[in-house]
Point group: C2
Chain length 76, copies 2
Amino acid sequence: MKARVHVMLKNGVLDPQGEAVRHALGAMGFDSVEGVRQGKVIDLDLAEGTTKDQVAEMCEKLLANTVIESYEIELG
Amino acid sequence: MKARVHVMLKNGVLDPQGEAVRHALGAMGFDSVEGVRQGKVIDLDLAEGTTKDQVAEMCEKLLANTVIESYEIELG
């Protein structure tokens, strides 16, 4: 089975990487871009029967820094 | 309007970051993890009326290195 985890900086946490992308897109003429946030996506191949709770534990312990980052899990 | 872009290393391209995560999860006792690929997710705030083609152009020109990375666009 597969799981996809998104790890994003929480709202209110400055995102210099996203800001740099926004600035670069503007400089390239993409005027329609009003804001950019950049995060990580982690695709996991898991043994059958792995639960969402186990994936959440991986996020809490390793994949996300929950002080400044939030995560979302999609099992698929 | 919002768009979410996923940028992942193409299949066959080594992903040392994903491999490091897989190894770390294994060392922490998460034995159910068989493979990990790590990529980027970019959330764009766009002016109304921006087309998927325009977002694809941003990907081709800046957001992805299409030699080694593939991208997926979701408009939402």
